[in-house]
Structure formats: C-alpha cells, structure tokens
C-alpha cells in the first residue's frame, strides 16, 4: 500500500514536469485555481492546478463529488475566469467565451420549446455555420441514428427520458464537429449496456475526427476504457492526486476490455487512490 502510493506520487510528479506549454498542447492550466464568494462565504472549489491536454488527446477527470471537475471545464470554456493562474487554449489565454470547444454540460441545456431534432439542429442554424436545409436535415438524421434516438425526432425534451435527453445533448454537441469536446458526465444517466454502445461511438468519432477531449466522469472503468490519461482529483478543494497514462492500444474493444488483466491492474491502482478521496469527501 505504502509502496503503491509512492509510485503514484512519482507518476504525478513525472506528469507535472512536462507542463511547459508546447505547441502540441491544446489546453494548459497553469496554476489555475477557483474560489467562489457566496453570501459572504468563501468556497475554495479548486486549488492551483497544473494540467495540459495535448492535441487529439483524450483526458478523463475523476474525483469525488464537489471537487471542482465541472469548474475546470467551465474555466476551459471561458464561462468562468480563474481566481489565480492562467488557462491557455492553443497557447493563448482564454478571455471571453471559448468558441472552439463544444461543451456538453452536466446540466441539461436543451431548449424546452424545441423538439429533439430541432434541438440537435440548432448549431447548424447559426450564421457562423452556413448549412443548407437539406444538408442540415441529413446531418440531424445521421446524428439521431448515431445516438439511437431514431423515431424520437418530434418529441419535446419533457417527453424524453433522462438518458435520452443526455443523448440528444450529445448529438447537439457533436453535430457541428467542434475541435475540442468538454464532456461532463455525459453517460451518467444511461444503463450499462447503452453506456458501452455510446462509449464505442464516442471513441470511433473522436478518433476519426481527431477531436481533443476533456471528459469528466465518476466511473473509473469508463475513464480507463476511453482515456489516454486519467487524472484523479482529491476531495474539495480539488487538487491533482495522480495522473496515469493508459497504454492500451486503439481502437479499444469497449465491450471486452474491462475483462482484461491490464485493465484490472489500472483499475485497482487508480481505485486505491480514488477511494481514499471519496471516503474523505465531505460532500457525500
């Protein structure tokens, strides 16, 4: 146990040595921290974090509830300014909203007055993305099929299940092919079987379109299955406890990889770190 912790600390240390912003980095957090002031109360959501995500890399963030994972995504999307430190995207500080990322938020942000298909289509209706009507129709149909929502085109969000809403949100984010995806527990509401199918689709899509992904999840297995690197956070205020490279060849067999020995070793190793934090977490 002691030896293992030692190893993990070394891994974390090694990961933080190559933090210098290089051209290949898509996202850099340099000493970025976040403190909220709320009704005279000071909430430290995130300690100073150093983390970089390389171009086309898939990085998964795991950690106890309330440790600041969503906050990190908000920083990268430019929805929140860091309280200290800097957030770089393509080597430049994120100032206003970061329009280069597609953000699938933890919260459901579907437009309630639009049907599922029209929700998915909304990004293609914008002036910055001129799309002909027939092309948009075709893309929407393809996305609906991809996320398994064929036949639900005309349902309003209130007429869809939680998992279906998540999938609609996913389709809406993917349809305009953003170069970077920020995903906040995108598959939390899905059953195990459907989750695997969606993971498979996501892997294929991000590989094929060479998308950079920052993926928040509380499911360690999901993180290992998909990610090039898994980052484990401490309980609030979040700080990086460990970063682990997942050296599994791609494309990965999403359905079977969970039963391999390598996977089990990764899982055990990361779970050891995570479970300490989860039990420490005051938010649960």
């Amino acid at each position: 146990m002691r030896m293992e912790n030692n190893v993990q600390d070394k891994i974390a240390a090694a990961a933080s040595t190559d933090q210098a912003a290089t051209v290949a980095d898509k996202i850099n957090l340099e000493g970025a921290s976040k403190t909220f002031h709320m009704r005279g109360q000071v909430i430290r959501a995130l300690q100073a974090i150093d983390l970089s995500v390389r171009r086309e890399e898939f990085v998964a963030l795991v950690g106890p509830s309330g440790c600041g994972k969503s906050t990190i995504l908000n920083l990268v999307a430019g929805l929140l300014p860091p309280s200290a430190g800097t957030v770089l995207y393509d080597g430049r500080p994120v100032r206003d909203l970061n329009r280069r990322v597609g953000y699938m938020t933890q919260k459901d942000t579907l437009l309630p007055w639009r049907r599922a298909a029209d929700n998915i289509r909304v990004a293609l209706e914008l002036r910055c993305r001129p799309t002909s009507h027939s092309e948009a129709d075709e893309k929407v149909a393809r996305m609906m099929e991809l996320v398994g929502l064929k036949g639900f085109e005309n349902h309003y969000p209130s007429e869809l299940s939680g998992g279906m809403r998540k999938r609609t949100l996913l389709a809406r984010t993917l349809i305009y092919e953003p170069e970077t995806l920020l995903m906040d527990e995108p598959f939390g509401a899905l059953d195990a079987q459907l989750k695997l199918i969606m993971l498979d689709q996501l892997q294929a899509l991000t590989q094929q379109r060479r998308i950079t992904v920052l993926f928040v999840t509380h499911d360690l297995g999901e993180a290992i299955t998909l990610a090039d690197r898994v980052v484990v956070f401490s309980a609030r205020p979040g700080r990086i406890r460990a970063i682990r490279n997942i050296d599994l060849p791609r494309p990965r067999d999403v359905f079977r990889i969970r039963f391999t020995d390598v996977f089990a070793r990764y899982h055990e190793e990361l779970w050891d770190v995570l479970k300490d934090e989860v039990t420490k977490g005051t938010d649960i």
């Binding site: 999307a77 929805l79 909203l97 007055w113 909304v122 914008l126």
Partner: protein, 278 residues
C-alpha cells in the same frame, strides 16, 4: 379603478385569473337543461317585475323599464348611432392596444438585450409604472385634444407598461445556461435573442397581452367618460348628463354585451393556446 390599472402583473404563464379558470363542471344533459330553464325563468321574473312594478310615475322615470330600454336600443340600431359609438370605442381600444403591445414588447426585448441600459433606467420605469395612468388623461387632452389621439395615448401607455414589464420579467426568467450554451456554439447576440430570449419570454408576453386587453378596455372607457363626443363611455356620460335614465341603462346594456363578448373571445383564445402548448 385606477388602483387596478397599476397592479403589477406578477402572474406566471399558465396561472390565470380566477374568474377565467372556471371550467364547466361535468354535468348530465338533464341537469344542464334544468339550469338553462332556471336561468331563463329568473331573467323573465326579474324583467317582469321591473316592467310591471306598481310604482309612481316619478319613480318609474328613474327606474325605467325593459321595454323602454329595448325600444331606445332599437332606435340607436336603426339610426346607426349605436354602431358609430361601438366603432369609436373599438378603434380607440384596438389602436392603443396594438401600439402599446408593439412598443412594450420591443422595448422589453431591447432591455433584455442591453441589461446595463435597463439597470440605469429601472427607477424611472418603476416610477412611471407606479403612476395611475388615468391621472395622465387630462394632460393628454391638453396635449392632443379631445379627439381620438388623446384616448389612444392613454390606452397605449397603460398597455405599454404592462407589456414592458411582463416582457422584461420573461427575459429575466430565461435560463442563463441556455444562453451560454448557445453563445458557446457561436450564436451572435441577435441569434441568442431570437432563439432563446424570445421563445423563453413568449408565455410571459402572452399572459401580459391577455391581461392588458381588460386594462385597455377600462382605460378607453374612462377616457371617453372624461371627455369625448363619441364612444360607449360618451353614450353613458351623455345620457346620464341629460337625466335620461332609460338611455343610461341602454348604454350599460351595450357595455355588458361588449364585455361579455370580449371575455368570451379571450377565453376561447386562451383555451386554444393552452391546447396548442400541450
């Protein structure tokens, strides 16, 4: 009356005034028929008593009678004056209403679009909102004369503030996360307005528009009572001014018919939209 005009519309969409919420209870056709018969008999009894009440001629003058009222009404219909007055009231009301709605909704959306400007203007808007608009009627008459335009102005300003406030309430109620998600996708401010703010504020706007029909009616009538040479308000004012009780009753009958029709139309429209929303 003016106190009613300045009541704030905090009503949420879907939340309706109690009087409009009356849905007919499920009734068998038999009991329904009895009710109609009972109502007819009640009205007949009332009118009968009114018509044949054994009172002195002096009292009869102030009391009038259904037959006299009907013949006065008939006279107005035949000589066309009824339609002229109705038309005058309707055109003031509709013009003022449409004007007030258009400007109120547009400015409300604009303030939603420019929150900083709105924050500067809030106290002024609140001050004007609190003012009973009917107090402005004499001023409008000085400024615009006793013709149609002063009345239209009064109606328009009454409706304007109601619609301004319900639109702003609607825009402020919008889920900021929806706005942010659209902006992240690359939507311009105009696109955010069209695709998020407006649809999200629409139920509020609609509620405001529905409620302000009544206020528009009240404001029109008040303006006509104060100074006019045409319209339903003038008809009442003129007849009572001439101590013509029968004429006053006849004008009130017209007014009742007018309000009942208006309420009926509003109820139908509301039922239609409620059906549409589900």
């Amino acid at each position: 009356m003016s106190g009613e005009v300045m009541t704030r519309t905090a009503a949420l969409p879907g939340q309706t005034e109690a009087e409009e919420d009356v849905t007919p209870e499920p009734q068998g056709t038999m009991s329904m028929r009895y009710m109609v018969i009972a109502r007819i008999m009640l009205v007949a009894a009332m009118f009968g008593a009114w018509e044949f009440a054994p009172v002195s001629r002096g009292i009869k003058f102030w009391l009038s009678s259904p037959s006299a009222i009907l013949s006065t009404l008939w006279g107005w219909m035949v000589d066309g004056s009824l339609w002229a007055h109705l038309g005058a009231t309707l055109s003031v009301m509709v013009t003022g209403y449409v004007l007030g709605c258009a400007v109120g909704i547009s400015l409300g959306l604009l303030f939603g679009f420019l929150p900083r400007v709105y924050r500067v203007l809030v106290p002024f808007i609140a001050a004007f909102y609190a003012l009973p608009k009917i107090a402005l009627a004499p001023l409008f008459i000085i400024l615009l004369g006793i013709g149609m335009s002063s009345k239209v102005a009064l109606v328009a300003i009454t409706v304007f503030f109601l619609l301004l406030n319900s639109t702003i309430d609607g825009v402020r109620d919008v889920d900021r996360d929806l706005v942010q998600s659209l902006r992240l996708m690359g939507a311009t401010r105009i696109e955010v307005l069209r695709k998020v703010l407006l649809p999200s504020a629409l139920p509020w706007i609609f509620t405001g528009a529905r409620i302000s029909v009544r206020y528009a009616f009240t404001a029109t009538l008040l303006a006509e009572l104060i100074a006019a040479n045409r319209g339903l308000g003038f008809l009442i004012e003129f007849n009572s001014g001439n101590f013509n009780a029968t004429g006053s009753y006849a004008a009130i009958v017209v007014l009742v018919a007018f309000s009942v029709t208006l309420t009926e139309i509003l109820t139908r429209v509301q039922a239609m939209t409620a059906m549409h929303r589900n």
